[in-house]
């Protein structure tokens, strides 16, 4: 076992046993190195990995924001990993979009009508109505869909949704630039958002799921993404 993996194991054990929890601070790098009888380099390599995984955040200086503290950002890890593998051309963008449709459809189908996330989605929709700046609109759009994903109350699904979005963010940006008439598209997106939220308020999760799927697939198809046969219909004998 390589040295940094030993450190990694030690920290993971501390997390599992609860001796280290959210907001907790790791010992200083030099201290930890001495405790585990390894070099500071190895400790740092382990911390780098945890940082990339969204488990800790390293801050210099003194005070409350300094040191290495435990956070919880699963989206960061999944997002970076997906983005890197997209770069290697091993994860087709079409598969990512298809997976996003799958997860988000499921989330809205199971959304709890009284979820605070839905209230947030409604508020975001109001802002989008007034918003005229393209970049601001897209940022609000991201948060809107994220709120939808959170409405089902499944943290894993929310994290995966967020990471998928992050992984193809730059790709989606390029697609948007190809749109012939942004104002018309934005108007359609607003309309579809209203429809989704209306279906949810009407306790019709199934209908909302269909609308979400059409909403996402329609956008990518209009912007020119190659098809991946994402027909949600299931074959029946």
């Amino acid at each position: 076992m390589r040295t940094h993996q030993l450190v990694l194991q030690w920290i993971e054990d501390q997390l599992s046993s609860g001796e280290l929890s959210l907001g907790g601070r790791l010992p200083a790098e030099r201290t930890l190195a001495e405790q585990l009888q390894v070099s500071r380099t190895s400790v740092r390599e382990a911390i780098r990995i945890l940082e990339a995984m969204g488990v800790v955040r390293a801050g210099v200086g003194s005070g409350p924001d300094a040191g290495t503290v435990v956070i919880a950002d699963p989206t960061a890890a999944l997002g970076s990993a997906l983005r890197l593998h997209v770069a290697t051309s091993h994860l087709p963008v079409a598969d990512i979009v298809q997976t996003r449709v799958l997860l988000e459809s499921w989330a809205v189908a199971r959304a709890r009508t009284d979820s605070p996330a839905l209230a947030e989605a409604a508020a975001l929709l109001e802002k989008m109505e007034a918003c005229r700046d393209t970049d601001d609109f897209l940022a609000l759009d991201v948060r809107f869909h994220l709120a939808l994903a959170e409405a089902a109350g499944n943290v894993v699904v929310s994290a995966m949704m967020g990471s998928l979005r992050e992984a193809i963010q730059s790709y989606a940006g390029k697609l948007t630039a190809n749109l012939p008439d942004w104002d018309a598209t934005a108007a359609r997106l607003r309309s579809e958002h209203r429809g989704i939220l209306a279906a949810l308020n009407n306790h019709d999760g199934g209908r909302a799921a269909e609308l979400v799927a059409a909403h996402i697939e329609g956008y990518y198809k209009e912007a020119g993404l190659g098809p991946k046969d994402s027909d949600p219909a299931q074959p029946q004998p």
Copy 2:
């Protein structure tokens, strides 16, 4: 921007531009450090992250297996990340199981009947019929479900399924030890596997999805996992 992130960016650019691709080898650490005018330490930190993400594999010595080569193992990254966040108690196991049901149900519902993965699943099922060793049986079971997930032909879904399985592997192992009558459970699992495969061969993906969901949820419930209301039924007005 921290130094190792600069290295990370450089490598990611090489991947995106295609100058580095699957099976390709990175320059030696010392060489790369000199090229980018950074210390070897920073290069190593970047490589560590890529290794944790399942993008590269570092091998010592000489020859074809040596050096840092580009691989493609998205499951590794997602699995480690999920496992770590489970350790921080931020990702409930119930959510992971629920997500697994969601993904695997979708995969079998959209499985292509002529998929090679289905043939592999059938072969694995044959082996499980004869297998009497608990550990071997569980190993085959993992591969069986992985094959099901691959049958839909979506790499992202397959990778996520594999990582979910990996993240809760140790947890599932403990649950198995709690089972009152393993032989009876194993017999039931075999029977359910046959039913799933039969539904698929009958081109009834919807039925197969229902069976898969019941199969997974039934196992965890029997072993004592707390419920997470994973009723797949969608509310209708």
